[in-house]
């Protein structure tokens, strides 16, 4: 084929230049905006809203009634009731499956919709796409499930003990507990989010590894102390403001102090995101036939 010397070639592309942080930041913002919009307004978001409402609906329905039995008339019991409600329903179920849905769909959803090339055909480092999408997933999940945590806690106390609750939140430990529970929810989103993002990149059907992790997290209370530490839920439990007994069969392990639990979760999350970045860097898109 004949060659031509029309000089439209980029000049010195190999030349070493400083890292373009401001460009990456603009690109992350653009990706973040698109993804947040998709997470909140896309057709897949309906399931998320329903999931976020799961703990709220029964509490709203129960709000006008005080259940029979003396324990329900004791304000202090409600600390334990919310701790169990939070650990069992909000953290292990709503946040877990909500994060699975949001983060697995960040890439897997685009692959299914055949729209990942919107990003792959842009001059964006693929690692930047991972960061933009992850941050969007994080903001979505923390906003939704953080709100669920706050509303659920307020609904547990306020309708039944209004004056005690006011004192509990404003003069007692209530506000601190509320912040701690919300922070634990945020940390859960950080940890589970990274795991599910990477699962969505590696597995064609990410439901199976998600269920395996779900089982692992639920059976965590039966595991020896060393294995307990290979989980997200162990660290989250360690941070909970009200310790909850895990039952007569539970293997007791020392809770990990917050100064270890929080950085550990963040470091593991960072490592998982690096794996995701490596994976996406080598990812191929193959649509249809020739």
């Amino acid at each position: 084929m004949s060659s031509s010397t029309v000089n439209i070639a980029p000049q010195k592309t190999i030349e070493k230049q400083p890292l373009p942080w401001s460009l990456w930041w603009r690109q992350i913002r653009a990706i973040f905006r698109l993804e947040v919009e998709k997470n909140f307004l896309g057709r897949r978001s309906i399931l998320l809203y329903l999931l976020a409402l799961v703990p709220i609906v029964p509490l709203v329905l129960l709000a006008p009634f005080t259940p029979p039995g003396n324990e329900w008339r004791d304000f202090n019991q409600y600390n334990m009731i919310f701790a169990i409600f939070y650990g069992g329903l909000i953290l292990r179920t709503v946040v877990f499956f909500g994060c699975a849905w949001i983060f697995m769909n960040l890439f897997r959803g685009d692959i299914i919709d055949r729209s990942l090339h919107f990003y792959f055909l842009s001059p964006v480092r693929r690692q930047v796409v991972v960061v933009g999408k992850y941050l969007a997933g994080l903001v979505t999940s923390v906003a939704l499930f953080g709100a669920t945590t706050i509303i659920a806690m307020l609904l547990v106390y306020l309708p039944h003990f209004y004056s005690e609750s006011t004192r509990f939140f404003f003069d007692g430990p209530g506000l601190g507990q509320l912040l701690t529970y919300t922070s634990v929810t945020a940390l859960a989103c950080i940890g589970y989010g990274a795991f599910f993002l990477v699962v969505g990149l590696f597995f064609r059907n990410p439901i199976i590894p998600a269920l395996v992790l779900y089982g692992w997290e639920w059976l965590n209370f039966l595991m020896p102390p060393l294995l307990k530490k290979i989980s997200v839920i162990h660290y989250l439990h360690s941070l909970a403001p009200v310790p909850v007994s895990e039952g007569p069969f539970a293997v007791v392990a020392e809770p990990t102090p917050a100064w270890i639990a929080v950085p550990s979760l963040i470091i593991v999350t960072a490592l998982v995101l690096i794996i995701a970045s490596y994976r996406i860097r080598r990812m191929e898109i193959r649509y249809g036939s020739d």
């Binding site: 010397t5 439209i8 653009a30 896309g42 001059p123 898109i285 649509y287 020739d290």
Partner: protein
């Protein structure tokens, strides 16, 4: 003295190297590229140097056209070999897509966006500032005649409008290389003609346009050169007439309209390069098959000069892409 020296000094190795590298940096280069999907062959041992202009990829389904395009854009990685686009390796998307636009066959529209928002958001992802992105968006939409529908949701677009918005996406950042997978699909005849004119203009401006299409007469009309693919192999490449000329095993067919085809037949038949001479059904023309079209045209010049036969027209019958395709690949495009 020193001036003379500088004018006539021998060209150094460095200059030769730089000049070669400059030429290579203006080309799309495939160096012994193969792609296998497991055991299945995508493309095999492709060596190409594609210059600016319109290059069409032609071949039946499964020939390797999309594989070649996806390799060029880095969406696929070659199993073997190396591809560079204007000197940039295809595994560096952050560099590559500053100079390359790809119009795929598939939609990649984030939901709920209007045409304008779609192009604008694509440019923001590129990293453009808001003002510049808005400006480039308007230019791209104008170029594909989509300004009127710019503020309608992409989801409500017709097939032709979707095709145009994809085209706008590919040209929005004003790339030097455009790869267009079936870009004329779904366009009405008017827009088709406008789009082909746009391609011609972009090619005249020195851009590379790599186009895959099934519509051979359109490819023939707009392409500077073609790459014919079959079963993952490059069967032929070059400008259509050049490729046709090299197909010695298929003599060129020429139809000569004249007032005395029988006499013309007798005149040309004894030439060694003429394989066949057959009268047209209406007996007002002669089909000739020749192995050397240039010599045959010279012969016709002599016939005209002799003045015994009045020649009205001369038209090659199979000097087009359809014929090349049929001879090399064996079926109609």
């Amino acid at each position: 003295m020193s001036e003379t020296n500088s004018k006539h000094r021998p060209i150094g190795q460095d200059e030769i190297r730089n000049s070669k590298s400059e030429i290579r940096n203006s080309l799309i280069v495939f160096d012994d590229v193969s792609k296998f999907y497991g055991e299945i062959l995508g493309v095999n041992r492709v060596n190409l140097q594609i210059a600016p202009g319109i290059t069409s990829l032609v071949g039946p389904n499964g020939a390797g056209k999309s594989t070649l395009m996806n390799l060029m854009t880095g969406l696929l990685r070659p199993t073997r070999g190396r591809i560079t686009i204007l000197g940039i390796p295809t595994d560096q998307p952050e560099q590559l897509f500053r100079y390359l636009g790809y119009c795929t066959q598939f939609d990649s529209f984030p939901r709920g966006l209007t045409g304008r928002e779609f192009i604008n958001s694509f440019l923001l992802v590129h990293g453009y500032e808001k003002k510049k992105a808005a400006e480039l968006t308007t230019i791209a939409l104008e170029r594909v005649s989509l300004m009127e529908a710019a503020d309608r949701k992409v989801a409500a677009y017709s097939k032709g409008m979707r095709q145009r918005i994809r085209l706008a996406q590919a040209i929005a950042h004003q790339p030097a290389v455009m790869i267009l997978d079936e870009p004329l699909n779904g366009l009405d005849p008017m827009v088709r003609a406008e789009t082909i004119a746009l391609f011609r203009k972009l090619a005249a401006d020195g851009l590379h346009l790599i186009i895959s299409s099934h519509i051979l007469h359109e490819v023939d009309m707009m392409s500077d050169r073609v790459i014919l693919l079959n079963n993952g192999y490059v069967v032929a490449e070059g400008d259509v007439h050049g490729v046709r000329d090299e197909m010695q095993e298929h003599p060129m067919q020429i139809l000569i309209r004249c007032d005395n085809p029988s006499k013309l037949a007798a005149r040309v038949f004894d030439k060694d390069h003429v394989v066949e001479a057959r009268l047209h059904d209406d007996r007002m023309g002669l089909f000739v098959r020749t192995r050397d079209a240039d010599r045959f045209y010279l012969l016709l010049n002599e016939v005209v000069a002799e003045g015994e036969i009045n020649i009205e027209s001369i038209a090659p019958v199979d000097d087009d892409l359809s014929a090349v395709y049929q001879y090399l690949i064996g079926s109609e495009g």
